[in-house]
Symmetry: C2
Subunit: 133 residues, 2 copies
């Protein structure tokens, strides 16, 4: 499949501290935040060329991001690949025996379609597939 | 500073297993591997648009990558930002109180100049700066 890297998700424990580095020290441009209610996170995208950085801030104690930060500390969380046809991509991966977290796409940030691949099938990496619409 | 994301480094425990996913299942194009003797790693770059994935395979037991995989398991390791002037970028970051692993650049993959920022200054993320030459 043809894929480009859309963004890198970073699990954040202290949003202001993360912004002091990525926005203030590195000088990357910050977009307006977007709430993703289903994941109980607020996403803060920073522009860095074709690929963005996505700072993920938990909005509830039971958010997957809150749990991740509690267990592993803040840091790199996932990589998102942009594909043309996410349904076809998921079917192709499933046909190759890849374990999927989301069998069918759901709505992600920027009203995109997204689905996650299980890290056990991706050598420890949490991979998101994304299709713009 | 103006920066784009050059690549995402992935610490690999079993190269063949990682290639089965990233090359065979996702279908990303794989470059010829490159040995980085100073880091005791072999880098396998996969093309995915402007930003690449770099599979990092330890070539010695005391390689930083071997230690990383032993402690945290395989997975996302670092993000590399491409800058125009790495010496100026390091000076600017140092002036802002950012803790650097490399005070001055050294030679990285593809004969580039690279320097790492300490994760304690980057909210848990290992950030590499890279300048082509």
């Amino acid at each position: 499949m043809k894929a480009t890297i859309d963004h890198i998700g970073i699990a954040v424990g202290d949003l202001e501290a993360s912004l002091r580095f990525f926005r203030d020290a590195l000088g990357l441009d910050l977009d307006a935040p977007e709430e993703i209610a289903s994941q109980r996170v607020r996403a803060h995208f920073l522009q860095a060329g074709e690929t963005m950085l996505e700072l993920l801030e938990a909005t509830a104690d039971d958010s997957p991001i809150a749990k991740y930060v509690e267990t592993r500390g803040p840091g790199l969380h996932h990589v998102a690949l942009l594909v043309d046809d996410i349904v076809a991509a998921l079917a192709a991966l499933k046909g190759k025996g890849v374990r999927l977290i989301d069998e069918s796409p759901r709505t992600g940030a920027h009203n995109s379609l997204v689905a996650f691949i299980h890290p056990s099938s991706a050598h420890g990496v949490l991979v998101e597939l994304k299709q713009k619409r």
